[in-house]
Symmetry: C2
Subunit: 257 residues, 2 copies
């Protein structure tokens, strides 16, 4: 009957307390030594159980402070709104959304010339390793890292729209700037996936163990030609992406945002 290893019993017991509300989000767990006594297990065994919960994203640990039940507060992202000339540019959409939610947006920005990674090259239908312009955004909400966004533009496009390669913002928005040069985006292809963060991503997004990243890859088209590929990495514990498909006008009237 007691086939489960002890460290798993510890994890299960604590998980039940968390799910049942006995340990609400933000509350501190008993210390390792307390749990060690309570479960009649060595500190190592208790630590194994706790690290299981950490890797499930249920709790966090801080040296000197103890373990804490993670609290979730997700941020909604509307991905299906079509970005066109009447729509503010991507960066603006972020600032507007965050401000509307009563939060404080903040972002750092840089422009680089970069060889295209394989996955980007494939989507832009250029040679892997060929030069692209990379416009990179690191975004925060209330000073908490939220997402990184890397947009690659193919070289042929930059020739027609040279300001893409210049550092600094494009005030009117890249979408509008491109349209002024005869490049109008007519559609997108979105790909959404998830995985555990690389060490680099974990550093940029300040996520600990047990938090996956949400990957959003958007390829923008002008006619049949891909003109940009945007890869956004979100903290998986803080974000949710929404798409509206079909006619939801009746619903929207009943449930305004």
């Amino acid at each position: 009957m007691n086939k489960q290893p002890k460290y798993r019993q510890v994890a299960d017991a604590l998980r039940r307390e968390i799910d049942g509300g006995a340990l609400p989000p933000g509350s501190r767990l008993p210390s390792e030594s307390e749990l060690s006594a309570r479960f009649d297990a060595s500190r190592n065994t208790v630590r194994s159980g706790l690290s299981l919960l950490v890797s499930e994203g249920l709790i966090t640990s801080s040296q000197g402070l103890g373990y804490e039940v993670r609290s979730h507060e997700v941020f909604e992202l509307n991905a299906s709104q079509f970005e066109n000339l009447n729509f503010p540019q991507n960066g603006d959409a972020y600032s507007t959304d965050v401000t509307n939610a009563g939060r404080r947006p903040h972002q750092t920005f840089r422009v680089e010339m970069k060889p295209a990674p394989e996955d980007v090259a494939e989507r832009l239908t250029v040679e892997a390793g060929s030069t692209t312009v990379l416009r990179f955004c690191h975004r925060f909400v209330d000073d908490v890292p939220w997402s990184t966004q890397a947009t690659h533009y193919p070289a042929w496009l930059v020739e027609q729209a040279p300001r893409l390669a210049e550092p600094g913002d494009i005030a009117e928005g890249t979408t509008r700037y491109l349209a002024a040069h005869g490049i109008e985006q007519v559609g997108y292809f979105d790909e959404i996936s998830t995985r555990m963060p690389t060490p680099d991503e974990a550093r940029l997004l300040e996520v600990g163990a047990g938090v996956p990243v949400l990957l959003w890859m958007r390829t923008g088209y002008s006619g049949d030609r891909p003109i940009r590929c945007t890869i956004t990495t979100f903290r998986g514990d803080l974000n949710r992406m929404n798409y509206e498909i079909g006619d939801l006008s009746a619903r929207s009237e009943n449930e305004p945002q």
Copy 2:
């Protein structure tokens, strides 16, 4: 200069070998004792480093077999195709997609009466805990667990369409069946998020540590009324969701699936 703890050095070194291709997907890692000798570290320290890579989803471990570099083979899901009367039902879409990809689909199915969980109740605009019909699917591809899908229908809808509560498939598809009873879906609201699997989900999807799940929540509307809420959990390492937005007809001609 050597401030990193030793177990992290082990993980970093192995991660570099994996990323660099020295340890290709599917290959076996050296055993713990070999690594212990190579890094002049105890077995426990090596295990700490390895478990880091496991929780990053880079490698897997099997008792008696050793550690193996995980190989990724993602399956594409087209989520933006609008499901209507001219479109096969959800279950059929899965079978068709998988078969077209040259894989073998397999699913188990059951129907239950279930009180609505809070998140579902909110989306169906019914009382939390009120009775709903739950149609549950457990799907496999080549006998590998792929996803679980739970669709909740509100009680008022089941009164109009009683076959929803009966066990067994609805041959013509639920969409068509509902339409025949005057309930036509006009749009969807999709929400996509990610997190680490619960122990139940890990069991159903047979995922080990370090693999997040991709959560897809689709609320279907008929007019202003929500008529169903479908929650699908995918193995994050095997699936990617795709959305097409705007006019991509020119692109589709160039890149047929």
